[in-house]
């Protein structure tokens, strides 16, 4: 899959996953990379940007060993943004689906 395309989709994936519950970086990265093949490191710049734009807030929580974990929590603004992206995504997918079906029946 095209890299730019993946990056756009990745944003939606991060938003969707964080709608379920709060995740810390490693956990979130793994949840996503289990489904999508991408360089895992690219999720952190994305998280940072979306946090800066106010879609997520972060908080630290102690873990057993090692440094405390930074958890990401979606904000109301993030929820709205996710809904908007999801609508766009569904529209896009159905349009592509229609096109493919038309080609197949033509």
């Amino acid at each position: 899959m095209n890299v730019q395309f993946k990056k756009g989709v990745l944003e939606l994936c991060v938003l969707v996953v964080l709608c379920r519950r709060d995740y810390y970086g490693y956990e979130l990265v793994h949840t996503i990379s289990e489904n999508i093949d991408i360089a895992e490191g690219t999720i952190y710049p994305l998280l940072r940007r979306l946090t800066k734009e106010g879609y997520f807030t972060t908080y630290l929580r102690e873990s057993g060993e090692g440094p405390s974990r930074k958890y990401y929590q979606i904000t109301d603004k993030g929820q709205t943004y996710k809904e908007q992206l999801l609508t766009e995504w569904n529209h896009f997918v159905s349009s592509v689906g229609n096109l493919i079906r038309e080609e197949a029946t033509a």
Partner: protein, 195 residues
């Protein structure tokens, strides 16, 4: 690549990003490594699945540049610029201006010396030419005329050389001053540009 190598490559490719932000970015990856190790992954394996640290660094740098353009002059930046120019101003008042004034004084003194040398040389020659007309006012002081002619020429030449030398020296002085002022301006501007 192990954790240390990955982090140092990333740190290097984050150049230009403010220090505090750099720390935050690196913290995310350190946390990722330690979580991975807790999960029984090897450092090399974690680094490999994270991807190329230089590419990651680039995406942070681009993001940081975009931020600068979006954010424009945030209050904290302007405050920082003001602080920078104030502390620079303090340094200038205490050290640079006295130094500048001192050097300027030395330069002015040397100029006066060079000019008076040249003028006195010329005066000797002019005096020699006028002496036959005003013998009552101009005495030769018991010195021979050829000696006075050569002395006059010599002193004039020496004075002229000094003036030329001073000219060069002054140019250097003003060039350095201009460069110092530019250096000051650059520091202030740099503070303003930072995100």
């Amino acid at each position: 690549m192990n954790k240390e190598q990955f982090l140092s490559q990333l740190r290097r490719s984050l150049s230009g990003i403010p220090e505090e932000e750099k720390k935050e970015i690196l913290y995310d990856y350190e946390e990722h490594f330690s979580s991975g190790l807790e999960n029984g992954q090897e450092e090399e394996e974690i680094a490999r699945s994270l991807g190329n640290p230089r590419v990651l660094g680039k995406s942070y740098r681009i993001e940081s540049l975009l931020d600068e353009q979006r954010g424009g002059h945030r209050a904290s930046n302007i405050l920082r610029a003001v602080f920078a120019s104030l502390s620079l101003g303090f340094f200038n008042v205490i050290i640079t201006i006295p130094l500048f004034a001192g050097l300027f004084g030395v330069l002015a003194g040397l100029w006066a010396g060079a000019v008076s040398l040249a003028v006195s040389g010329v005066a000797v020659l002019v005096g020699l030419m006028l002496q036959p007309l005003f013998p009552a006012f101009i005495g030769l002081g018991g010195l021979s005329i050829p000696f006075l002619i050569f002395a006059g020429i010599g002193i004039s030449a020496l004075g002229l050389l000094s003036v030329i030398g001073m000219w060069k020296l002054s140019q250097l002085f003003f060039r350095m001053t201009a460069r110092y002022v530019q250096f000051n301006l650059r520091i202030i501007k740099k503070q303003e540009v930072r995100a």
